[in-house]
Structure formats: structure tokens, C-alpha cells
């Protein structure tokens, strides 16, 4: 069994270099506009930065994937088409797309360009995987975070296509690309604008010594004095249902599938994805090198290194997410 590929986030040229230096097999990144799902201020790459980033990565044998994974705006697909054309021109190793129409464009205009299907397309069934493979020549599918490990194994047996799964970082609890909660509360949408629960719509309000974190004017969480105040990501907030306040959708946890790596490897997963294009270079270096150690250990037939896990779990609250059926 060949080793699993480590696909790492690069929100900036500095993070790209950190990921490459820490042993990433591939990095993924986006252009500085609405064409990618991490359209945050101060992040992402212009064309020159991408060219330089590709040169840097290729020197170490690291691949570069360009995420063009929002849904092109009706009547104005130019920015998305240009992103695809430029990624092809600059010799990105693959582009990551979600939209059917954009995949169709890529297939027709750049038949040799390697296409990966974004998690934002939420392809979770053999029928869906076959469709993307047959119609657009999609080579790899980033699986939605709604599947259990046995379901992933079944998918891989059913359809001969590369699969990539998220193993660390932020966790969408909704089916990716199928959530309009942010849009409902703020007008800004992951699918259309590449943002979720945007900072521009966040405010912290203090009343009677209690701090409320609000998004679009809705209170998403509340904190007592001295309690650390988290960021009000909509689906990680505290709400009241049937008179009882709780984290209705999910606690403010993040995904850590480190201990599941042997199972994912056995299932036939081709690549492991680390979330976090909004993260700095130090974080990227630490997480990538921990997973590098783990993947190398598994390749040698050795157990998962405890030191690597410890480097990932300092003080954080984590979950195995949907990979464990009990999550549902």
C-alpha cells in the first residue's frame, strides 16, 4: 500500500513555504477574490504570488492545487473562468472545483488540466462519484465530512477514483456547499462569496457584565465575566431549543482524525487534507510536521507517534466528527 498524500493549507506565500518545508506532499490555495471558499481579508494569492509559490513548491517536489470552489455568479462567470485559465497557464498541478458548470467549462477549455472535486460539491455516493468522473474526468474527490469510515471504505471499493479526506482543523457540521445559514444571518454566503460567519458582521456586546458575541445582530453565544469569548461561528453557537440552552449544532470543537489515520489508510484513502488557510505559518508548520511524522510512521508499519498527537492537541477541544457514527 502506498503512502497517503498530505495536502496542506496555504493562505499566504509564507504559509506555503512553511507547509512545503514541513513536508507537505501538496499545498492548496486560492486567488484573492470570491472564486475561493476562504475569501478572507489579507489571505490568498495574486497571479505573481501563485507563480512564485508554484516555483518554490516544485523545487521540493510539492504539488500545488488551486481551489476555485465557490459557485460562479449568475451572469458574471468571468472571474471564475479567468481563475481557471490562469491556474492552467501557471501550471498548477490541479484545480479544485465545486460547480457543475465550472467543471464543464474546465473539461472543455482545459482538457489536460487535472480536476479535483471540492468538498463544497458534497459528493457522498458512488453514483455521484461516477458522474463526476465520467462527465468531467474528475481525478480526485474531496469527500464531504458527513461520512463514516466504513462508508468511505465502501465508496472507495465501489468507484475507482482518488479520495481525499479532511483530518484536521475546522469542522463544518452541515453538508458542505449545502448550507445557507450564514447567508440568512449576514447576506454573505460560503457558496457565493466564499465566506461563512464573516468578521465584518461580528460584534461583541457587553450588558450587565455579560458578554454577547453577535453575528448579523443575532446573539450566537454569551459569556460570563472571565469566561473566554469565542468567535461566533453560526453553527458553533449556543441557542435555546425547547427552553434549554445548548450548543444545538456542535460545540466549538475542531476536527482531529489523527487516531483514525490507520483506519483511513486501510480504507484506501489517497490523500489527507488539513484545513486552515486562515492560519499562520507557525501553526501550519506544526500541524504539517506532526502529520508528516504520522504518515511516515504508518508507511514504515510503525504505530502512530504519540509525540505528534501531543503537538496537535494542546488545550484544544476536538472531535472525530462524522467519521464516528455516534457523532450523528
Amino acid at each position: 500500500m502506498s503512502g497517503m498524500e498530505l495536502v496542506c493549507p496555504a493562505g499566504t506565500p509564507a504559509a506555503l513555504e512553511a507547509a512545503v518545508d514541513a513536508g507537505a506532499d501538496a499545498v492548496y490555495l486560492g486567488f484573492r477574490d470570491e472564486t475561493n471558499a476562504r475569501n478572507f481579508p489579507g489571505l490568498n494569492f495574486d497571479r505573481d504570488e501563485l507563480a512564485r509559490g508554484i516555483a518554490y513548491a516544485h523545487k521540493s517536489g510539492t504539488k500545488v492545487f488551486v481551489a476555485i470552489n465557490t459557485y460562479p455568479r449568475a451572469g458574471a462567470p468571468k472571474a471564475w473562468h479567468a481563475a481557471l485559465d490562469d491556474a492552467a497557464r501557471l501550471k498548477a498541478d490541479a484545480v479544485i472545483v465545486a460547480d457543475l458548470g465550472l467543471a464543464d467549462y474546465a473539461r472543455r477549455k482545459h482538457p489536460k488540466l487535472r480536476l479535483h472535486l471540492s468538498v463544497q460539491a458534497a459528493a457522498a455516493t458512488p453514483a455521484a462519484l461516477r458522474l463526476y468522473k465520467k462527465e468531467f474526468g474528475i481525478r480526485r474527490v474531496v469527500l464531504p465530512r458527513v461520512l463514516t469510515v466504513p462508508e468511505i471504505a465502501h465508496l472507495i471499493r465501489a468507484v475507482p477514483i482518488e479520495t481525499e479526506v479532511f483530518v484536521f482543523g475546522g469542522l463544518c457540521v452541515m453538508a458542505e456547499g449545502r448550507c445557507q445559514l450564514s447567508s440568512y444571518a449576514t447576506g454573505k454566503s460560503p457558496n457565493m462569496n466564499g465566506v461563512c460567519s464573516p468578521a465584518s458582521h461580528v460584534a461583541y456586546v457587553e450588558t450587565d457584565g455579560r458578554l454577547s458575541a453577535t453575528l448579523g445582530g443575532y446573539t450566537i453565544d454569551g459569556f460570563e465575566k472571565g469566561e473566554p469569548a469565542g468567535y461566533p461561528t453560526l453553527c458553533k453557537g449556543r441557542f435555546a431549543v425547547e427552553g434549554h440552552a445548548s450548543y444545538v449544532f456542535e460545540e466549538p470543537t475542531s476536527l482531529n482524525a489523527f487516531s483514525l489515520l490507520p483506519e483511513l489508510r486501510k480504507a484506501g484513502v489517497k490523500a489527507l487534507k488539513i484545513e486552515g488557510r486562515q492560519r499562520g505559518r507557525a501553526y501550519v508548520a506544526q500541524v504539517v510536521s506532526a502529520f508528516r511524522q504520522a504518515v511516515d510512521a504508518l508507511d514504515r508499519g510503525a504505530p502512530l507517534p504519540a509525540s505528534a498527537l501531543a503537538a496537535l492537541t494542546e488545550g484544544g477541544r476536538e472531535t472525530g466528527g462524522a467519521y464516528r457514527k455516534t457523532w450523528r
Partner: protein
Amino acid sequence: MSRRTSKKKPAGALTLGPVLYNWEPALWRDFYFRIADEAPVDTVVVGEVVCSKREPFFAPQIPKVVERLEAAGKEVVLAGLALVTNRREMATLEELATDAAHVVEANDIAAIALLQGRPHDVGPHVNVYNEGTLAWLARRGARRVALPIELSMAQIAAIAARRGKAEIEVFAFGRAPLALSARCYSARARGLRKDNCQFVCAGLAQGMALETLDAKPFLVVNGTTTMSATWIDLAAHVGALRKAGVGRLRLSPEVVDMVAVARVFRGLLDGADPKAAQKALASLAPQARFSDGFLRGTTGADGLAA
């Protein structure tokens, strides 16, 4: 090009969307019987979209409901599940896709895959954000496409302008299904999991209301689907939607006199006054807060412009 596909300008059509809540099966059946007998809708989408675990409760009622609706001259479209994850759900979908007697509405990309080459509809849970995607779907046999709920008027118009032979539908009434998950939040709210959910959603005719910590209504938990607390009401925009080339409006069943709601929207398609229609809807559903922010391109939850 497409504007000339029919000789006479049609008045526009109404689709009654599937019941998204887990209504008591006998009530569910009687709801459709009354729709068959009295509601001026052209098409009725029938079937479980939210959770496959609910399906067995409605399955025995479906043939009777379909028969009654068809006898009354309604077109019946069978809905596929919105989030297909396991083999059992896939098998159900495969069976549905072979139903030769009815058009099937795809609500997941898996259904799009299975329905290739035969006429089918595409529900609002499939991401059709632009004309490129619409064209691709139409080439594969999509005859009618319901657009995502978060699209603005400008975006709807841009897609509808390039609709070709496909018919464009817009979600015009009812709580908006905003998000899908593998996790069941109704079960979670009662300390349970999806696998042993004890069907806590059964009989919750309007789901579970979710409020912010300062008691502001915000969302509705309905099993694996999270819905808006506000009810979409596009009454004020029916004229503009029709002018833009939207052929159909979708009305989503709520606990309200849906026959009367359908009559209001039928009236709007026939040219009735939007302000009066809004008033009529408000008096039919005094419990509802209405919104049209998605269509106006602001924030989804924004209330109707005064």
C-alpha cells in the same frame, strides 16, 4: 430564443413542494386529499426529502395520495432525498428513478446521476447558481429547475434569461430549508442520536423553534434540516419574477390553510394586487414573520419592505 417556445403567454404555474416536517401520517394524507380537491396548484411534489427514517411512515399513504391528486388533474412529481449517504438510501433512490409513471425531482447529485437521459426535475437542494450549471443539467434531461433559495432577483434573472427550454422555479412561500446535515439536530436537542432517535420529530408539525440566548426567534430545527424562523413571502415580487422568465413558484407546506395560500398566489399570477396579497397571507398566518431578503439581495432574514 426561449421566449418564443410557447405561442400564448402562459400565466405561470404553481408547485406545491414536499412536506418538509414529520407530520402525523393521517394528517399528511388528509392534507394532500384537500389539496387535490381544492388547491389551485398545477404540480404537487410528493415524498420524503429530509430523512430516510421517516419514509416508512408515509410510504403506505403515498399511492392513495398520488391517485387522488392525479384524479383531480394535478401533475405529481416524486421527490428524492436531499442528502443521500448510505446504501439503503441509495437503493431507495434507485427504485424511485425507475418509476416510469412519474417525473422525479432530484434533490441530491446522486439523483442527477441516476436520472440522466430521462426527463426529470431539479429541486432547490441542488446547487444551480448559474447559467452554466443550468445548461449542463438541461442537456442531461432536466425539464424544470428550482433555484437555490439564497439567490437574489438579479441572479435569478440572469439564469432565467438563459433558460433555454428549461422551466425555472423559485421558492416563494414557507420556511426556507437552509442547511442539511448528516446529524439529526432534533434528536440531539433531546440528548439522542440519529440511530436511536426515537422519532422525536414525529408530530412536530412546525419543527422545533430555535431562539437566540436573548430569546429572539432565529431558526427551526427539523431533523437533519435546519430551516429559517421566518417564512419566505415573495408576493411582492411575483410580477418581476414572471417578467424575468420565471415560470413557476414553489409553495412549501406550513401549518396554515395552504389551499388559501395557493389561491393568493394563483391570484398574483393572474395579476392581483401584491399589497392585498401580502395582507391576506399575514392574516392567514398571524404567527409568521415574513422575509424576502434573499430575493432583495440583502440578508436572508430581512423582513418585507414596508
